[in-house]
Symmetry: C2
Subunit: 337 residues, 2 copies
């Protein structure tokens, strides 16, 4: 009897439920269970992930001395403690300057799955993305020289670059940002929804399954699909349709498209949309139905979808807060101006 019972459980684990199949058919994909498969998915063949690069990248990610003021790190706006975001409507950076286009900081968690970075999708990967905010004036406001001079002024950093890349490593701006991106590539957060898609039919409650079905039936997966559950540019113009377009002058990419944000950890990443205009998740769901799908999502339907969305909260990687190298006499001084 016991053996039989175990066999039944095991079979149900391996057999994808009809709903899981429907989800997959609609373009939703799980974070793979298999470590090698996941590694392949997040890796960068041009700069393979290694433990030493990740540890060094983590330090750089948390190092505010890369900014002109020495007060702003990557983690300031993409805070790993709060869903990988800053939780404010528009990002605020150097000299307390808000993003001039009123753009909201996207989460860094699972950003490795995005086919394009930034709200206008202008950069293809995290390596290129990491170069932007460090130099942007309303963000970290640093020059490439400031970053390189800061890092190379500290022997411990130089030693760690050599250990990670070899003694002949050239520590230029791109090497620094590539290393930050390597750390960011590891920031994936598998959730109960992934367990469900990976074959564990009982990983979601019935209410969550109902929500998933509504999510698919309403057409949310048209844009929110892939492993990122939102990872490409979408097919709708941003400028013409947003109710809150008075916030900022963002016009999307050359075709007026806006990058679809991930829904993973969505309960942790309010406020929502590229302009951070809406704080309530149910309201955001209804608004997206209206703008992007041209349909009225009822209160009950939106609640059901939100119930599903909560299952996308994932397990974050353990991050030991780094101890950064001490500055030296040659480390550039901060400037708050």
């Amino acid at each position: 009897m016991k053996i039989l019972a175990l066999t039944v459980v095991s079979a149900s684990l391996l057999m994808a439920s009809p709903l899981a199949k429907q989800a997959t058919d609609a373009g939703l994909k799980p974070i793979p269970n298999d470590k090698n498969e996941l590694q392949k998915l997040i890796d960068n063949p041009k700069n393979p992930i290694t433990a030493m690069k990740v540890e060094l990248g983590k330090k750089l990610y948390f190092d505010p001395r890369l900014s002109k003021s020495n007060l702003i790190s990557c983690n300031t706006c993409h805070n790993l403690a709060t869903g990988g975001t800053d939780g404010v409507s528009a990002a605020i950076g150097h000299k307390w300057t808000a993003n001039p286009h009123h753009l909201n900081s996207p989460t860094v968690y699972n950003a490795v799955f995005f086919s394009a970075q930034f709200w206008d999708g202008r950069d293809p990967d995290l390596e290129k993305q990491a170069q932007g905010p460090i130099q942007a004036h309303p963000e970290m406001a640093a020059t490439k020289e400031h970053v390189v001079n800061t890092v190379t002024s500290m022997p411990q950093y130089v030693g760690e670059f050599k250990a990670a890349y070899g003694d002949d490593v050239k520590i230029d701006f791109e090497k620094v940002t590539d290393t930050i991106a390597t750390f960011e590539r590891t920031l994936v957060t598998p959730s109960r929804f992934d367990a469900f898609l990976n074959g564990n039919a009982s990983a979601l409650s019935q209410a969550e399954k109902d929500g998933l079905k509504t999510f698919i039936d309403k057409g949310c997966t048209t844009c929110h699909n892939g492993v990122g559950i939102g990872q490409d540019m979408n097919a709708f113009e941003v400028t013409a349709q947003y109710k809150h377009r008075n916030l900022g002058d963002f016009k999307g990419d050359a075709n007026g498209m806006v990058k679809v944000p991930t829904l993973r950890n969505i309960v942790e990443t309010a406020p929502y949309f590229h302009n951070g205009a809406i704080w309530d998740l149910k309201e955001a769901v209804i608004e997206m139905g209206r703008i992007q799908l041209g349909l009225d999502i009822t209160d009950a339907e939106a609640e059901s979808i939100v119930t599903f969305l909560k299952s996308l909260t994932g397990k974050k990687p353990n991050v030991l807060y780094p101890e950064l190298p001490a500055r030296t006499a040659s480390t550039p001084k901060p400037s708050a101006d």
Copy 2:
């Protein structure tokens, strides 16, 4: 033979060297090796340290949502990654406002050993201290109501307060700041110097021992003493003598006294002095000799003292970066104004 050798080593470990005795006679005290002794030293009898309070206090310490803007946490100015400080001359807070008295952020590491908190020593302990910067306008700029409403809006926080203090806990502003202080009490960093004072004569190199001797002989221990190696108000007027008194209008306490900063981890906490006026440690040593001791410390003597000071870099506690509770509909919204 082997047994004899072991006996000799053991004896040298237990016997304080003459220099260690001289250091102790001069008022220097080690962080105790013994866990119970250390616990007694850092504990608060009115609110005893427990693992649950420390974990909750860590979350609050790192939570930027306690600030008005939701962008500034305790860790912003007392960054555990960079020696417990922000590494800028004068602290910069809400709306990018510099400290109006041009005061430098003191380190939080080992602050539990200070007999007085703040540069003017106005608060007696970390519990009282933690109430200041959260409410100060150029720092976190929050009201007590903002802090309490933020914390109590998140059921996970409420649950953790109940787990830490009992179901009838009253989560008021003081309970929040007391819990932050409990975490801060654990931030002590034993160094090789402590091992030396605790009886391991070979924990310091000969050059470091020479530096320690110079440090004592010059009279630095007049102010830099105790477990904090700088923990009380000092006996000299701040206003009359500082070369850099053009930076800010700080006048010390009612008697013109300034709190002696700790020298622990001093190579990580530049720039130096209450006004953050000097970046170079050797220059700071020479300047202190001139101002506070009325004597000329030579370049060679200052270098020797710096060699000793480097041995005060301690082992930091491992801090797993927290995952903070998600905000809810009733969590106060940030305001950057």
